[in-house]
Symmetry: C2
Subunit: 140 residues, 2 copies
């Protein structure tokens, strides 16, 4: 069933990279029409979730290193999706906030991501999708 002529096939790191690549590619195609990258979507979802996040916390949740987040946020600011606000308690910290445009955009994007999720879920029978997520979470 799987075309396993590949010497790397038994390495978890390879299986993971292959699956990640495949899922990322199809999701990227879906998001292209919104003019948005997967990472920007992750940032927006984190922001929407409620609690004010510093850049550092946001970087962890959105799976980005701080410099990469900083630069992504620069782009999102100039696209009008988010804005920076200096935290009152600690003036070194930045709270990032969604703009109205950003919130609307996120809702649109979310629908496509959920479509993609459903498409992925169909590749598994019954509860295997949830099982996969559960196994993956043991790695991070």
């Amino acid at each position: 069933m799987t075309t396993e002529l590949n010497p790397l096939g038994n390495h978890l790191s390879y299986a993971l990279a292959a699956a990640h690549r495949s899922v990322t590619q199809s999701l990227t195609v879906r998001l292209k029409k919104h003019g948005i990258h997967i990472e920007a979507w992750r940032v927006m979802e984190c922001l929407d979730a409620g609690t004010r996040l510093s850049m550092g916390e946001l970087a962890k949740q959105a799976l980005l290193n701080p410099p990469a987040l900083s630069k992504l946020v620069d782009r999102m600011v100039s696209d009008g999706l988010v804005h920076r606000q200096i935290a009152t308690a600690d003036q070194r910290q930045i709270n990032l906030l969604l703009t109205n445009l950003g919130r609307r955009r996120m809702l649109q994007v979310r629908r496509d991501v959920e479509d993609e999720d459903r498409a992925l879920a169909q590749k598994f029978d019954t509860t295997d999708g949830a099982l996969l997520i559960q196994l993956l979470s043991q790695l991070s």
Copy 2:
């Protein structure tokens, strides 16, 4: 048990990205002492497997787009790890071959990758590691 304050946690694409990031990071640390990237290791393993591969086939197996492979190969050539050979049957094709240095380096790197694999396997009980690989392979 997983710190699930994260709105993205139920998305397969997120769980995958998180796991991939985590595994990639620790493997990258391990490979750093060899001065080699994970992608270069994948290329070398593919080459070692025997059958002559064109750049196109190699790109698929090593999970790289053709331009990325082309550039990586440039670097590997100047590091003395591989060399290009024009295919006799079709002069457009390139067969990439490991040098002796490349083969030796691959064997060294392989030991570290296998260490990493074992470390990962210990995060799961009994057959869950194999199950995870099997589930992941349904995605690619």
